[in-house]
Amino acid sequence: MPKNIRRWGPPLLLVSPSLILLAVFVYGLLAINAKTSGTDNHTAAQTTGRAPVQWVWFDNFVDLLGSESFQHSLKNLVIYTVVFLAGTMFFGFLWAFLLDRPVRFEGWFRSIYLFPMAVSFVASGVVWRWLLNSNQGEAASGLNRLFQNIGLGFLQNNWWNNPDWGIAAIAIPAIWQMSGYVMALFLAGFRGIPEELREAARVDGANEWQLYRHVLFPQLSPVALSAVIIVGHMSLKAFDLIMSISKPANYQTKVPAIDMYQFKLSFDYANAAAVGVILLVIVAILIVPYLVHINRAEKH
């Protein structure tokens, strides 16, 4: 018995505060949320117990997933996430690639590329609303005006003001904000590769491109995976961005988190909770394979 305590005690002591906190603040709250999502708590009177609440099992989910409006939100979330991930990975990787070999003023470049992370969307959202103004031609302002001025007028477009693909433009500020972080991750990845590996490849007669293509890039796949997870979890935060750039009521840019917000404000707690559960399930579907993968990688 004492032996067991010696073996189990210390590690348990170290992790238990976190586990207790997470059990309450994550799983306790999620359980309450899940419970609400199975009820018909759709009106203000029900939220305070002045009208009876019935258990309806999965009705809310069936209704939501069947509604055209919610499907539109889900489609937007998918487009947003794909564009956001692809964009941050592309720019982050490219910048890291450019800064990998010694570059003068590297510190400056790095700081500037990281800077957007420091700016809160609470206020910079307004700037992005201006930049992504959809007017073209004579009335153009924002980026469209800039394109005209630098002779790239053909790049003008109506940005997020498009019911099908508009949401992709909302990802631009998010890419702007997070690419620097991905750059830092990749840069660290590049720097973490032992110098001998590069030398050895050169000895073998590889040119610079072959060196990167066949030796260095493959080393970076774990970094890329980490980056996808860390950046991917930011994609759920699209909410702040849409709230400040577009508006919650704009149909073309709505995502499930916006629906949840609107449901909750109109006292439809059951549907709000159901949207929350759906979001969590989506996350689980995406993250579980990652966890399985890293576990397998570690066993080797």
């Binding site: 505060p17 207790i20 906190l21 309450v24 306790g28 309450i32 419970k35 009106t43 203000a44 009177a45 939220t47 305070t48 117990g49 002045r50 009208a51 409006s69 539109h72 969307f121 609470v122 959202g125 609303r129 201006w130 992504l132 103004n133 959809s134 007017n135 073209q136 009335a139 302002s141 109506n158 940005w159 997020w160 003001n161 498009n162 019911p163 508009g166 702040d240 709230m243 400040s244 750039i245 577009s246 508006k247 919650p248 009521a249 704009n250 149909y251 073309q252 709505k254 917000y261 609107q262 909750k264 404000l265 109109s266 006292f267 439809d268």
Partner: protein, 431 residues
Amino acid sequence: MRTRRTLTALVAGLAASSLLLAACSSNDPETPSGTGGAGGDDASEVEVFTWWASGSEKLGLDALVQVFEEQHPDTKFVNGAIAGGAGSAAKELLQSRLQAQDPPDTFQAHAGAELTDYINAGQLEDVSNLYDEFGLRDAFPKDLVDRLTVDGKIYSVPSNIHRANVVWANPSVLEDAGLDPKATYATLDDWFTALDKVKASGKTALSIATTWTQVHLFETVLLSSLGTDKYNGLWDGSTDWAGADVTKALENFEKLMSYTNTDRDGLDWPDATQQVIDGKAGFNVMGDWAEAAFQEAKKQAPADYIYFPVPGTDGVFDFLADSFTLPVGSKHPGGTKNWLNTISSLDGQIAFNKAKGSIPARKDAQPSEFSAYQQSAMESFGQDTIVSSLAHGAAAPVATLNAISEAVSKFTTGAGDLATFQSDLVAANAG
């Protein structure tokens, strides 16, 4: 109830670790007074929850607080202002606090249907006794008191009135387009001809902004096309949303939207009004808080800008009002009572509205103390038919307004046609 007990149990289990954390971190200079619970008539302070955090709204609130401190020096005013804007989370916050039974002593809300949910949830006290005590039934127009009364009870006290159905125009843009700035338009059709001319002159005929301003325009079109009785019927169920006259109104709305700027969804109302101020657009439909934007730009009516009721709504006052409430479970109900007393008093309403640019709800305020626009609005308010604004929460509950807003947005971004729009509207009002 059971949720509460579970929570309490969880909290107990949590106590040890959170105490540890709190101990490390209690360097906050301000320690809020304990959980009171004094109840009764505690008037030691009043926490006032508003969205008035900047601009003319803040000036209005400051002026009001000054009057409050004179009238009730013993009650401490605690400012709970959280801006709207990106912080629409402020409304979520209010909801959560009410739900957690930790309400502010009073909060700002649009008078009318926006309060329905709070009333149904049993979160607001009936304040009709205060109407009697303060003599407000006679001080406010009867039309207004009727619109605030739900099943014989009144749940809020208005501090100011705004008018929604106002067109703002730039006379020099109109002259350049060959129009007489003094002309009036009896119907929307008359107005369309004028809009055509402005459009032909190369300017934006009608400037507009994001979804809520489109809903704002939409409501004035409904009012103009259907007339007051049918417009009111939309909200009590006596007018059929699927009817042919509504279809006609939707067509008018579609036509009006064709005169507007394409970047509308990315703008907020001041940007749209600014286009009229700058002479880039001919007309703009906006509530009378736009007056403040013209004042700020140092413009004079009627030389620099003109205003008139939305064509077809002359003699109708599409109103919205800011009002204050007494939440159930307020910790300082005496303080709330004092606050409601000040905001409904003649001095309070005059001080507040002079700074904010809106008009007093009281009939006994002297127009001469106010600006030219405010005087005209006060005159209309005294004699026009009063109807409730949709976009600003007076006409329909939040859920209905949200659903209508989504339908309008879906339509104006081109994700659905007119028939879809109408069926979305029918669904919005059925749910």
